[in-house]
């Protein structure tokens, strides 16, 4: 892209570490720490989209359509979810 500064920061979603295992039924395992978590279907959808490298806007849009929920609510929930992903060190490029 020519002008990288034009990218809206909101559109960049965090990346999930490559070694994190996510099963179809929402069981998440971090092999580095041995921690495991369970997520519901919405969480699973988010994780799968994050793993695919989808942008935040796309994720929010798709969730809003799938669950027929208000974009603002989804955006807030997505933000909370990302904070938890960070808290449990499941994301790449930790500060």
């Amino acid at each position: 892209m020519q002008n990288k500064q034009c990218i809206n920061i909101k559109s960049i979603a965090m990346k999930i570490k490559n070694n994190i295992a996510v099963s179809d039924n929402g069981f998440v395992f971090n092999p580095a720490s041995g921690e495991s978590f369970t997520v519901n279907q919405v969480g699973l959808d988010i994780l799968n989209m994050l793993r695919k490298g989808e942008k935040q806007e796309t994720i929010v849009q798709q969730l809003s359509e799938k669950y027929q929920a208000d974009m603002a609510v989804i955006e807030r929930d997505f933000s909370d979810f990302q904070a938890m992903v960070k808290q449990y060190h499941l994301h790449q490029n930790e500060e």
């Binding site: 092999p31 580095a32 720490s33 041995g34 495991s36």
Partner: protein, 349 residues
């Protein structure tokens, strides 16, 4: 088909109880060895050690004297057993007996009984009272600690280390103390049981990890498997755990082995704080009770240790399966009184 050599291996630590000795797990590893078949001789201190009655794992068990009886008494007993069983290897699994077995190692080898144990210097350097010096010498983070002889010293350490404090016996036992009263009670209880000094250690908040492994005595890592405790009993023992891939823990283990030239099996007890730094809490100079997890993920440490003891060629393990768990369970065996009577009166079963 490979014609496997048949070895006779003596193993201690048959107390598969709530704070289990490693013996039974070690034996399971030995029986699954790919390079040899074996006959297992159990060495027990008490008649109610459950391993004695596990006839599918142990061919014969003999009582051996407690370490307090001295090395000569132990040697004589081992020679008696050797005469009958023709032992090839002995694997001691208790901290408290290691001193005697290390001291006797050369003499036993001359008699044909091989072992692969830490040197006496290595054994002493990692004692709890020496851990701060050990950390300094090898550049490994260890929690601040001090060996104390009087209860009065607790107050100043409380100021220095903050709360809670970990009060530890010189060989076994540890308890957390959240205030001076608790610390003093723990000091009195532990010193009455294990003698002085008592170790007062700074508490490191974090998640507990353990690494078991094997060093060849030349600085090389023969085996290393890290595990996160998932379920901890009130005695601090892992009742469930899972293998992990944490590179920092593996690097720390390799550094430990390279810098100390550790000889034999070991377990590192580590605490990872919120910043992701590892603190070395303890070095156990032997195979841990959860060793069968390492066997289950592809590193048969009891087999590798046996091969090192016999000077057989050995290749270092380089992989293991991460994300495999162990879950311990208790099992009631029905034992005929005659068996209990036999081991109690004759010291053999």
């Amino acid at each position: 088909m490979k014609n496997k050599k048949k070895l006779t291996i003596a193993v201690t630590g048959l107390n598969a109880i709530d704070s289990p000795g490693p013996g039974v797990a070690v034996i399971r590893g030995l029986l699954e060895a790919s390079d040899f078949d074996c006959r297992i001789i159990g060495l027990a201190y008490e008649s109610l050690e459950p391993g004695i009655y596990m006839h599918d794992l142990i061919d014969k068990t003999y009582h051996i004297p407690y370490p307090s009886a001295g090395t000569e008494v132990l040697y004589n007993r081992l020679m008696y057993i050797h005469e009958k069983e023709k032992l090839d290897v002995v694997i001691p699994n208790f901290d408290a007996e290691l001193y005697s077995f290390i001291k006797l190692a050369d003499k036993l080898k001359q008699a044909g009984i091989h072992s692969f144990l830490p040197t006496m210097d290595q054994f002493e350097a990692r004692q709890k009272v020496n851990l701060p010096d050990f950390g300094k010498k090898y550049n490994i983070h260890v929690p601040r600690s001090k060996a104390i002889y009087t209860v009065n010293e607790i107050h100043s350490l409380e100021q220095e280390y903050g709360s809670p404090l970990v009060i530890k016996g010189k060989y076994y036992d540890a308890s957390l103390a959240y205030n001076s009263d608790q610390a003093k009670t723990a000091f009195n209880k532990i010193s009455a049981k294990w003698g002085l000094p008592v170790i007062v250690q700074e508490f490191v908040h974090g998640t507990e990890y353990n690494v078991t492994g094997l060093g060849d005595g030349l600085g090389n890592t023969i085996a290393a498997v890290p595990m996160r405790k998932q379920y901890i009993t009130d005695k601090g023992k892992a009742w469930g755990g899972i293998t992990i891939t944490d590179q920092k823990a593996l690097d720390l283990t390799a550094h430990f082995l390279k810098s100390t030239k550790w000889r034999g099996a070991f377990e590192l007890e580590l605490m990872k704080n919120k910043a992701g730094e590892y603190y070395l809490l303890e070095i156990n100079p032997r195979i841990p009770a959860w060793i069968y997890l390492a066997v289950g993920v592809g590193q048969n440490i009891p087999e590798a240790l046996t091969k090192l003891a016999l000077d057989w060629p050995i290749e270092a393990f380089t992989t293991y399966e991460a994300g495999k768990m162990f879950i311990r369970y208790a099992w009631d065996m029905i034992v005929d009184l005659k068996e209990f009577q036999q081991i109690s009166t004759h010291g053999e079963l």
